[in-house]
């Protein structure tokens, strides 16, 4: 016999893993994970699956006497529509800085809130705006336009009827 025989565990010795501790800890962890799981479910609450905002797509009629270089702003929309010989196009009038509505001017656009200026093609000439004003997707059928203010078109893409 080289190894010493292990003494048999006595009735009075403590259990290796106390049963009460194990049960207590596991119920604590169960409660904690249930709580975390419920929290994860609640975190999703602030973002609804469907956003409560009106459709960004709308139909407009261009005025007959709209001159090249002159902006047409449909009432209640944050879009400026232009027309020249090569076609029509629409530029968003929501400032890319902090979302104020820019005003079309002779040179382009100017923002009332923090003084950003944009050229007629929407590119930034002055001020804090980080990006040019986006061009928007336009569909033409006759004198009727369908503008999608939620879809960005490449700058310079004029659409002819």
């Amino acid at each position: 016999m080289t190894t010493q025989a292990k003494a048999a565990r006595s009735r009075l010795d403590p259990e290796p893993i106390p049963r009460r501790d194990w049960l207590g800890l596991s119920s604590l962890w169960a409660a904690l994970s249930a709580f975390l799981f419920a929290t994860l479910g609640m975190i999703r609450l602030p973002k609804a699956a469907v956003l409560a905002s009106p459709s960004k797509k709308f139909r407009i009629h261009l005025p007959e006497n709209l001159q090249p270089g002159q902006a047409f702003v449909p009432p209640g929309r944050s879009v400026a529509v232009f027309r020249d010989e090569s076609g029509v196009w629409a530029i968003s009038t929501v400032c890319t800085h902090l979302g104020c509505i820019v005003k079309p001017t002779a040179e382009g656009f100017e923002c009332p809130c923090h003084g950003s200026r944009f050229a007629a093609d929407g590119s930034v000439t002055k001020g804090p705006a980080p990006r040019p004003l986006p061009w928007l997707k336009v569909n033409v059928s006759g004198n009727t336009l369908i503008v999608d203010a939620g879809a960005v078109a490449p700058a310079g893409s004029k659409v002819s009827a």
Partner: protein, 517 residues
């Protein structure tokens, strides 16, 4: 019958109990009786769940006006005034876009005293912002954030942020032009991390800005969803957060050994005067010294008898005086100036100029250089810097004294000059000569985000305070310089934003020069 009790009349007993009921009710509610002796004054405080946030006895140093100027209590008082007037306004206010504006008009013109209550609410809210900032300055300049008060300084910062959040969320509720465009700008500041993610081209996969804005507005524009969210934050979530933090904040003042005072405060005060009523009218029947010895970190361990007086009445009467003064100021201002109400919100025509509430105009000034740095980057750096102060300044000299620490008032004076000059200089330069975009129209946005008047000013302040640390060999000197510069920058930017910015955020010396259309 074996029971030898005297004959009793149940009805008479009932009548006696009935007659004694009011007295017994009062005894059961106010268990300790009148606070007439030192002992009952103590039980008056620690037997009351609200009063026991304060300690039973208060040091005479804490009661001097020039220790605190009552600023902390004044901001708490302003909060209670907004709480009461806010609940009154809730009876008539309706948080839906179609009717919100009309309900404010009703409060203004139809509800009895409605205009007065709304004015008080607004003035108390403004006063709270002022007193919270001044209170923070008081705590900083008396070095009251030092060990063991570090954590309470952090709770104070959380209270500052909650106060500003309450003011901002309240701003949307009238649904007028001012409100609508301030919130549009605010929500887009929340979205401004896109300035960086767009420049890096990763917005499609990683868009914290868009997420923050969506969380705030619940939609992609400011509408009914945004209004109900701001309303919920304003009347429920933020007041609860603020109340909880406030309770911890005040309670920790007591746990940290009262207000900070110089180590030799007792010598400087001398023995309590004859007029301090009363010092001891009765020997204490119970002491808590054992508890203090057991927990060796308690601030009172190892200290001799001090210049303390019972909190009831000395501290509570002083606090009541501050409360009354705050109420008086709010009432007086409300009688003189009405809270503004502009036209109904119009989503197609921004206000020009669209100005945030005055305490955010410094931020708006920085935002007019870069949305991300001005609205999120620099405020985060400032909050982080303020939070780090008690952990970097581990010195002990000068605690409890105004402008205590190496250099003292002369250092603060020089920092004021530097802070004002740097802020005014960089602003004057940007107003006179423009900034990178005008000089190099095709410059990448990231460079403007990194280098703009706001960040240049922040770096100038940071370098100055590092130089102070080196020159005085003391972190406290650097902190004094940095905090002073921060206050000066805040003041200069706020004044420029308030008085010198006109339509299109152009610089004008006076509103009379604004273009007329």
């Amino acid at each position: 019958m074996s029971v030898a009790s005297p004959p009793r009349n149940p009805l008479q007993e009932f009548r006696g109990n009935l007659r004694a009921a009011p007295r017994r009710f009062l005894e059961s509610a106010f268990r300790t009786g009148k606070p007439a002796t030192d002992r009952t004054r103590s039980t008056f405080v620690f037997g009351n769940v609200f009063l026991h946030l304060h300690s039973v006895r208060t040091h005479l140093w804490s009661l001097r006006w020039r220790t605190t100027w009552g600023l902390g209590i004044a901001s708490a008082a302003a909060f209670f005034i907004t709480l009461i007037t806010g609940v009154l306004l809730m009876f008539y206010y309706k948080p839906y876009p179609e009717v919100a504006y009309d309900s404010i008009k009703d409060i203004h013109f139809v509800v009895p005293a409605g205009r007065f209550i709304r004015n008080i609410h607004r003035w108390a809210a403004n006063g709270m912002v002022v007193t919270v900032i001044l209170h923070m300055a008081r705590v900083f300049y008396t070095a009251a954030y030092r060990k063991p008060r570090e954590f309470n300084w952090l709770i104070g910062l959380a209270l500052l942020a909650t106060t500003l959040g309450l003011s901002f969320t309240g701003y949307l509720l009238p649904w007028d032009q001012l409100a609508y465009w301030a919130i549009t700008i605010g929500a887009n500041i929340a979205q401004s991390p896109r300035e960086v993610t767009d420049a890096l081209g990763i917005t499609e996969w990683f868009d914290p800005g868009g997420f923050q804005r969506l969380l705030l507005l619940g939609s992609d524009e400011v509408g009914a969803e945004a209004l109900i969210r701001f309303y919920l934050l304003h009347v429920m979530i933020l007041p609860l957060v603020l109340t909880a933090l406030l309770a911890v904040h005040i309670w920790r003042v007591r746990k940290d050994g009262g207000l900070a005072r110089p180590a030799d405060a007792d010598q400087r005060l001398g023995p309590p005067g004859e007029d301090v009523y009363p010092v001891f009218t009765q020997a204490p029947t119970r002491t808590y010294h054992l508890a203090a010895i057991v927990r060796g970190r308690t601030p009172a361990v190892g200290r001799g008898p001090e210049n303390t007086v019972p909190s009831m009445p000395h501290l509570f009467y002083a606090e009541l005086a501050v409360l009354m003064l705050t109420v008086f100021l709010c009432l007086a201002l409300s009688l003189i100036w009405d809270a503004p109400l502009k036209e109904l919100a119009n989503p197609s025509v921004p206000e020009n100029p669209a100005k945030a509430p005055w305490y955010f105009l410094g931020l708006q000034e920085m935002v007019s250089f870069s949305a991300f740095m001005g609205g999120i980057g620099i405020p985060a750096i400032v909050l982080l810097g303020l939070g780090l102060i008690p952990f970097l300044d581990r010195e002990e000299s000068g605690s409890g004294d105004w402008f205590g620490g190496p250099g003292g008032w002369p250092l603060v004076r020089r920092s004021i000059v530097w802070g004002l000059a740097a802020a005014a200089g960089i602003e004057a330069f940007a107003i006179q000569f423009g900034w990178l975009r005008q000089w190099f129209p095709h410059i990448p946005q990231l460079i403007i985000t990194a280098i703009n008047p706001g960040t240049v000013l922040t770096v100038a302040y940071g370098l100055y305070s590092l130089w102070l640390v080196k020159r005085y060999g003391s972190a406290r000197a650097g902190a004094l310089g940095l905090f002073t510069c921060f206050l000066c920058g805040f003041t200069v930017l706020t004044i420029i934003g308030t008085y010198f910015r006109g339509p299109n955020w152009e610089f004008y010396w006076s509103p009379s020069q604004w273009p007329s259309h």
